[in-house]
């Protein structure tokens, strides 16, 4: 069975500084990996995904993530954080032999960007 860990409940970063939100996963076979963001009282919004190919994936709002197969990680990054990036971030994994249908989400990491 697949699983996702987000080792940090909370990440604080100053506006303008780079940010990293960590994610590690466990799945049989090749993974499909995703990042979603959730703002208060809103549903989850898709940020980016890794399916195959280049290990560095670029997504919405200037976010990117790097797939590292040997470390089974998919950390989310942004070169310069904005206060408006403050939200709850979820990493998700799915086995590639299931067309990405059955997602398993991590517990989430709350990002706070301080002005």
């Amino acid at each position: 069975a697949q699983s996702v860990a987000q080792p940090e409940d909370q990440v604080n970063v100053a506006e303008g500084n780079p940010l990293t939100v960590k994610c590690t996963y466990s799945v049989s076979g090749n993974p499909y990996l995703f990042w979603y963001v959730q703002y208060p009282n809103r549903g989850l919004q898709f940020l980016l995904k890794y399916i195959t190919g280049d290990n560095l994936v670029k997504g919405s709002y200037g976010f990117e993530a790097e797939f590292n197969k040997s470390q089974t990680s998919f950390h989310l990054k942004k070169p310069s954080a904005l206060v408006s990036d403050s939200a709850l971030y979820f990493c998700a994994v799915s086995p590639s032999d299931n067309y990405g249908q059955n997602f398993v989400f991590g517990p989430g990491t709350r990002l706070s960007v301080l002005p």
Partner: protein
């Protein structure tokens, strides 16, 4: 393009009462999901539909939860009777078959007193 629509947005009921949530997916999306999100946790899949067929309901507590997706479009999730532990946000999502991104609705926040 309209997103996933859910109603109601909030519901407060007493334990042992029934409750129902409604979801209308993005037009043309064959796959529909219901998730439960407890406070401080990630969403957990309850049931997945491909058109009218429930293809994965292994995590649905079938003694009190039921769902339907008549005509393969909108869907209803029901709890009867509700328990205190059912308090959570119930999220609906949809996707195209064979595609990976799921598009989420705003959710229904259920409070059971």
């Amino acid at each position: 393009e309209a997103g996933v629509v859910q109603s109601p947005r909030y519901k407060i009921i007493e334990k042992k009462q029934p409750v129902a949530f409604w979801c209308n997916p993005i037009s043309g999306h064959n796959t529909l999901y219901w998730y439960r999100q407890n406070l401080g946790q990630g969403p957990e899949l309850l049931i997945r539909y491909e058109n009218e067929e429930a293809v994965d309901d292994s995590q649905l507590p079938k003694d009190r939860f039921s769902a339907e997706r008549l005509k393969g479009v909108d869907s209803t999730l029901k709890i009867q009777p509700a328990e205190l532990g059912d308090s959570a946000v119930y999220l609906c999502a949809s996707s195209l078959v064979g595609y990976n991104e799921q598009f989420f609705g705003p959710g229904t926040r259920l409070t059971v007193l």
